[in-house]
């Protein structure tokens, strides 16, 4: 059993060594994807194109403007005394937001009266708009003299744990890792068995006493090693470039990641035993790993806000469990007590899928 499994594994390694382009792609692709997506995918809003209409021109209005600009979120793209050009500027996307300061701002503040400034927003991108609005409110509140602030008797003092700056990269990069690792691991093995079918070598294998379990384990192990290496590289990169802290134990992290990768590889093997050509296997592998991981894992869209039926479906997506465990370990530094349920789920997924693939191979082997 062990001898034959090893024989298959060694043979797969030889294939990987001979086909170094594919191997390099398997190793490097996760890191390249992480770089591309890591920088592109961000909910942090910066460099908002802001137009300012200052009808006051007082010291107070200049102070307010200065605090907007010094916050780092806004770029001043337009400064005028009148409102007439604003609709056109919004339409042409020259600006995303506009701050309109009334002519009596300075006078009102000097007199200790309550007053307001107008803040206009392009709401067509609601996610960005919400973030801009929050930022603008904070700035205005901070700039208001204490006298005005006193009107609110109860104040919430907010403390954000684990990610005090609310950097979306801290939240997104672990999800991105799950996404990338899932896609690469599924693709890696999706081609492994079907390739033997296409080349006709499966006929030779079938004429030997090799068992389906041995064949599939032997095929999965080398790719597990490759995928684990790629995962380690990606995590290192995430830490160096995107300030993702790794607070928990590396050992736990490695364990959970291996479980997750095993599930992905097993899924690829299952596809491989069902597909008839490498092309079909590749397509199915890509779709079935990418879409659920992207949409149904809680990577971007919170599972709790999905319809009940879809929530049930998400139970079948391994990335869902990995994400919880990964974020716990990486961001919170939690031990197994915080995510053992997820780890068990990952193990069950890998085991069940590999068993299905084996049953399927037994029939064709």
């Amino acid at each position: 059993m062990i001898r034959r499994t090893l024989a298959i594994a060694v043979k797969e390694f030889l294939h990987l060594r001979r086909d170094w382009r594919t191997s390099l792609a398997l190793l490097g692709m996760p890191m390249v994807l992480l770089l591309i997506y890591g920088f592109a995918l961000s909910f942090d809003v910066q460099h908002i194109r802001l137009a300012v209409v200052d009808r006051d021109g007082s010291r107070a209005s200049r102070d307010l403007l200065a605090s907007f600009l010094s916050s780092g979120y806004f770029d001043l793209t337009d400064f005028r005394r009148d409102l007439s050009h604003l609709p056109h500027a919004f339409d042409s996307e020259e600006i995303q937001a506009a701050l309109v300061i009334p002519s009596d701002l300075g006078a009102a503040l000097a007199a200790g009266r309550q007053t307001s400034v107008q803040f206009l927003l392009d709401g067509s991108d609601s996610l960005t708009a919400t973030t801009i609005l929050g930022t603008a409110r904070q700035i205005v509140a901070a700039t208001s003299p204490p006298l005005v602030l006193d009107t609110a008797p109860v104040q919430a003092r907010v403390l954000v744990a684990y990610n005090p700056d609310l950097l979306s990269s801290r939240f997104l990069v672990p999800g991105l890792l799950a996404f990338i690792l899932m896609v690469t691991s599924v693709i890696a093995t999706a081609l492994a068995v079907v390739r033997e079918k296409e080349r006709g070598t499966v006929e030779s294998l079938r004429a030997t006493p090799v068992l389906a379990v041995e064949l599939l384990l032997g095929k999965t192990l080398p790719y597990l090693l490759v995928a684990a290496t790629a995962a380690a590289g990606s995590l290192t990169l995430a830490r160096a470039l995107f300030d993702v802290p790794i607070r928990g134990s590396l050992l736990w992290l490695a364990g959970v990641t291996l479980l997750f990768l095993a599930g992905g590889l097993a899924w690829g093997v299952l596809i491989s035993t069902l597909a008839d050509s490498q092309q079909v296997a590749f397509q199915v592998g890509l779709l079935s790993s990418m879409l659920p991981t992207l949409l149904l894992s809680g990577f971007i869209f919170p599972i709790s806000s999905m319809p009940k039926a879809i929530q049930v479906v998400t139970n079948l997506v391994p990335a869902r469990y990995f994400l919880v465990a990964l974020r716990s370990i990486v961001l919170k530094g939690t031990g197994p007590s915080g995510w053992w349920v997820q780890a068990v789920a990952l193990a069950v997924f890998a085991g069940v899928v590999l068993a299905l693939a084996t049953a399927r191979t037994v029939r064709s082997l």
Binding site: R3, R4, L6, A7, I8, V10, K11, L14, H15, R18, D19, R199, G200, T201, V202, E203, S204, L205, R206, A207, T208, P209, V210
Partner: protein, 328 residues
């Protein structure tokens, strides 16, 4: 070597020793396609049995059933007295199978391929065994070459080595020399002859009738049935009628004239003239000559010739199409 039964087909010829391989009324259907429609076959120790027949006759299916790669739809298939399908893992340690298509890893070297299969087959001391086999087929100098970079003949020799690693008792070969040059083909058969002399039992499917002539017994398959089962020499005597060699000039006129003669069938171009099959086992050559001369042909030769296996093959596989018959 066991004597082959005198006439075809051979269903229950009492054998001195139980057959190494035996198929009884084996049928195989892929969906609605009936690949085998009742094959009977017995192979005894030390025999070299050739499987011939047109494409789609069922040669590959028969071999795959014997190799435990395919479960028969009906009938009984035994190897070493054991039903094949339920015991296939055990039996595969005792049989060697050479697939029709090159089924080794092109991106692995000769030696890596051998090591892989040796480990799967559980061959002890495979290095020694492999070296001896490689030496024997003349591949030793190429053992570090990638299999894809071998010539067609060398690939087949490598496949042969891989199928012999575990010292099987019976070797099943599916068109092992298809697309291989004549010199290598002869070498390959010399190897097979040596193996046979060492006591290995062979079952070879082949598209080449000259190869079938080297076998101790030949099975002619057609549309999933055994049409004939006899030693090659005796198979030729199964030809209905006899073969006449006719040549003359002008050739065009001869061709046209031959087509009009009712006593001739299957006129095939052969060397300078034609081979024609007569329905009558003792044809009236005088009458044929006269008819041709009357048609304006200068007849050079008109003589009976011994039937080749090819003549028999063509005649036997053609007959059922003209006049449908029951099982032979």
């Amino acid at each position: 070597m066991t004597a082959a039964p005198p006439t075809a087909p051979l269903p229950t010829a009492p054998a001195p020793e139980a057959a190494v391989a035996a198929l009884q009324s084996v049928e195989l259907a892929y969906g609605t396609v009936r690949a085998l429609r009742g094959i009977d076959l017995e192979v005894h120790r030390g025999e070299a049995v050739g499987l011939i027949g047109p494409d789609g006759a069922g040669k590959t299916s028969t071999l795959r059933i014997l190799a435990g790669l395919q479960r028969p739809t009906a009938g009984e298939a035994r190897l070493f007295q054991l039903p094949i399908w339920p015991n296939r893992r055990r039996l595969q340690r005792r049989l060697g199978y050479l697939a029709q298509r090159f089924a080794l890893y092109g991106d692995l070297t000769v030696e890596e391929n051998i090591r892989f299969f040796a480990l799967l087959l559980g061959v002890a001391n495979w290095r020694l065994r492999a070296e001896a086999l490689l030496e024997r087929v003349g591949l030793l100098p190429f053992r570090h070459r990638l299999a894809d970079q071998l010539s067609g003949g060398m690939k087949q020799k490598l496949a042969l080595v891989c199928s012999l690693l575990h010292s099987p008792e019976i070797l099943l070969l599916d068109e092992p020399t298809a697309g291989v040059d004549p010199v290598t083909r002869r070498e390959f058969w010399r190897l097979l002859a040596d193996l046979l002399a060492e006591g290995l039992t062979l079952l070879v499917a082949t598209p080449y009738l000259d190869e079938a002539e080297r076998c101790t017994r030949v099975l002619l398959l057609h549309s999933g049935r055994v049409l004939a089962d006899a030693p090659p020499r005796r198979l030729r005597s199964l030809l209905p009628g006899s073969i006449v060699e006719i040549s003359g000039s002008p050739r065009q006129t001869l061709r046209a004239a031959l087509a009009t003669l009712p006593q001739l069938q299957d006129v095939q171009p052969f060397a300078a003239g034609y081979h024609a099959r007569t329905t009558d086992p003792t044809p009236d050559l005088e009458a044929i000559s006269r008819a041709l001369t009357a048609a304006g042909v200068t007849v050079h030769t008109c003589k009976p010739v011994p039937a080749s296996l090819e003549d028999t093959f063509l005649a036997l596989t053609a007959t059922p199409r003209r006049a449908p018959q029951g099982d032979p």
